[in-house]
């Protein structure tokens, strides 16, 4: 069967499955809408958390980033898994014992303050929208490349699917669709990875394959060969990094702590029956996530090796089909600087900026003509890092159904994360802003309706961001993790582990962390991007890692202010004592 037909079948079937699950698991109460009634089995919740967590960035972009960053890509592997240790050990069981619906719920109650709750809601909405815009870009890429529909329609179809199961089913619908989406995405990720690992090393398990010898008779290990090939072409060795140690340290820490502070991840642990289940669930989540993460590193390394061997010094006339396919989608470009008709892949940018193709005519070898100014290095190839995972099955010549599977997997990853984010946005509006702050008299029915309206509005905004991505979106993903690390994590952590932390300290700390991190990132990413070089950074820490400094400031200011102001009232001490002990968790709707 044609690959294109297979893609339609795979994607169509997976969508039908998600909708069927949504209809079966419709939410009837606010408790079901916000936290799936608090009755989700920890293994099921772990799987849903994994799908929620592994976004378009994890599925589509991460291995590509690692392929081009080499050792420096480790920050994502450690950063996006190590956060689960923090969640399991420091946050999840206590937040579940607390037993409410949202993250601002905890902060507002523990710090006996509506102001604290509103600050938390602002952090949450900002973090979640930044994140969601990235998911929509992923949906757009998959649709335009694999389904041949314009990005506009791709985003509208994707939003329609999410609308059905997020608005109808709430957390309950999302949880069970995410389980299905996890199965689709992990299968779609592993199958091509096994194939490619087997082709290159003879060992089908990627994590072992990367530590084995290449089966080309050279007797070299994969990483040795990769280092050799790259240094021959003038690149840095794959196993060496180019970032400074302090920057690697801070980025990893910011990603870990940020992960533990992301509201859509934390809220998943409100859905299990009791505190001890929250711990187990975090363990299961990490297990399901680790399957993809220990594979992503090898996939990146194999992809880089494959890419160089199939592209470098190849004449454009004989360029593989995937190369011209992605060129047609603007994500690959070639500029024949030396006029030899062959593609030279070397360090540096082939030309300035992202490719702008001219509409008229073709180059001497039939390639698309670029309008960008050429740079004076020897590199002729531009490749968008995001395509490595999607193009991998084609690069390795895998059968059509594997390509179709990857398309369905990419969509599953993007949609599951988008749904989780939409849910935390809508519940923070209907529950934290309406019910708990501005309209306490609202009925359960009214609150549920408000939650559905908020989810619908959030979908429309997210869809708009996906269709017309503002230029700054790609630049500010660092915001989500940096802000979560600098604002929410310290407030939640001290709320559990410190009896003395009070309203004044927590608010001052959150505001300090938030403002400092926001200004630092905005300065280097938006207002003065030209100044974004190591020499100008505070202590040599890039905007990606600055959340750690924001976090330290948050802790310092909060502890200082709390010491100078009144201790929290007696009932807060009782509350903290109560959440520290696992026994006696109630289902959320009993409050």
């Amino acid at each position: 069967m044609e690959t294109q037909t297979l893609i339609y079948i795979f994607v169509g079937l997976s969508f039908a499955l998600y909708i069927a699950i949504a209809i079966w698991s419709r939410a009837g109460s606010t408790s079901e809408f916000y936290v799936a009634g608090g009755g989700v089995n920890p293994v099921v919740n772990g799987m849903a958390t994994a799908a929620d967590w592994m976004s378009a960035a994890s599925f589509i972009s991460m291995a590509g980033l690692i392929a081009f960053l080499g050792y420096d890509g480790s920050v994502y592997l450690m950063g996006w898994t190590g956060g689960y240790v923090l969640l399991a050990l420091l946050l999840a069981p206590y937040l579940r014992k607390f037993g409410e619906f949202t993250v601002p719920d905890f902060i507002g109650t523990r710090y006996y303050s509506k102001a604290a709750r509103v600050v938390a809601v602002i952090c949450l909405i900002f973090i979640s929208f930044t994140y969601i815009a990235g998911q929509m870009r992923g949906v757009g890429i998959v649709f335009s490349r694999f389904l041949d529909v314009p990005i506009l329609w791709g985003v509208i179809i994707g939003m329609g699917i999410v609308f059905i199961y997020a608005v109808l089913g709430g957390m309950k619908g999302i949880t069970y669709t995410q389980v299905a989406q996890y199965c689709v995405l992990i299968f779609a990720y592993m199958v091509p990875a096994f194939f490619i690992s087997f082709l290159i090393t003879g060992n089908p398990v990627p994590a072992l394959g990367l530590g084995s010898e290449v089966n080309d008779g050279s007797g070299l290990f994969v990483l040795q060969k990769l280092d050799l090939v790259l240094t021959d072409l003038g690149f840095a060795a794959y196993t060496d990094g180019s970032k400074s140690t302090i920057d690697i340290f801070c980025i990893t820490m910011a990603l870990m702590v940020g992960t533990a502070g992301l509201p859509h991840v934390i809220v998943r642990f409100f859905t299990v029956p009791k505190a001890s289940d929250a711990r187990k669930s975090a363990g299961w989540a990490l297990l399901f996530i680790a399957l993809l993460y220990v594979t992503a590193g090898p996939v990146g390394a194999f992809a880089r090796l494959n890419f160089i061997e199939t592209v470098n010094e190849q004449s454009y006339d004989n360029a593989p089909e995937w190369f011209t396919n992605w060129e047609a989608n603007d994500l690959i470009a070639w500029r024949d600087k030396n006029g030899d008709g062959r593609m030279q892949y070397r360090p540096g940018d082939a030309f300035e900026g992202a490719p702008v193709f001219s509409e008229s005519g073709e180059g001497a070898s039939g390639e698309r003509v670029l309008e960008n100014a050429a740079t004076d290095n020897a590199n002729e190839v531009y490749v968008d890092r995001d395509i490595m995972v999607l193009a991998n099955p084609e690069i390795a010549n895998l059968p059509g159904w594997v390509i179709a599977l990857v398309a369905a997997g990419g969509l599953a990853a993007a949609l599951s994360t988008a749904a989780g984010l939409l849910l935390v946005i809508s519940s923070s509006v209907s529950h934290d802003l309406l019910k708990k702050t501005f309209r306490p008299g609202i009925t359960e029915k009214g609150e549920l309706r408000a939650a559905r309206i908020a989810a619908t509005a959030a979908i429309v905004v997210a869809g708009y961001l996906g269709i017309y991505p503002p230029g700054w979106v790609a630049q500010v993903v660092a915001f989500a993790f940096g802000l979560a690390a600098a604002s929410l994590f310290p407030a939640i952590f001290m709320g559990i582990f410190s009896m003395r932390m009070n309203r004044e300290g927590a608010i001052a700390g959150m505001v300090t962390g938030l403002v400092f991190t926001f200004l630092y990132i905005a300065w280097f990413k938006l207002w003065a991007p030209a100044a974004n070089v190591e020499a100008n950074w505070l202590l040599g820490i890039s905007p990606e890692g600055i959340g750690v400094v924001g976090m330290v400031l948050n802790f310092a200011v909060a502890i200082g202010v709390a010491a100078l102001t009144q201790a929290p009232p007696a009932e807060i001490r009782t509350l903290v004592n109560n959440i520290r002990v696992p026994r006696g968790a109630q289902t959320p709707h009993m409050h």
Binding site: S74, L77, G82, Y84, S212, L223, T252, S276, R573, G584
Partner: protein
């Protein structure tokens, strides 16, 4: 929920001891968490890279593979050890619905 005043001192003391045991366990596990990722994977990577595990330089392996396996083991240990501590102080949630 019982209020603080009605609990006798014995319960309060046992809660205190339970919390101390919990903190002790956390300190041990968090030290290992820090040592494998920030220690072996980042700070001491160059030193460890002179050894290898199969075709992996050791520091590189910790950064891209090993730390993730250790994270998983840490959570597993925590789940088991914490359950034991809670039962010892009779604060577990085994019988909660």
């Amino acid at each position: 929920m019982e209020s603080e005043e009605t609990r006798d001192d014995k319960v309060a003391a046992s809660q205190k001891a339970y919390w101390r045991a919990n903190i002790r366990l956390l300190c041990v596990l968090m030290s290992i968490w820090f040592a494998v990722s920030f220690g072996a994977g980042i700070i001491f990577r160059d030193f460890l890279d002179q050894f290898s595990l199969g075709g992996y330089p050791l520091g590189f392996w910790f950064a891209q593979q090993g730390s993730i396996y250790v994270f998983l083991i840490l959570i597993a240990i925590y789940v088991v050890a914490m359950h034991r501590i809670e039962r010892k102080f009779d604060l577990d949630d085994d019988d909660d619905s």
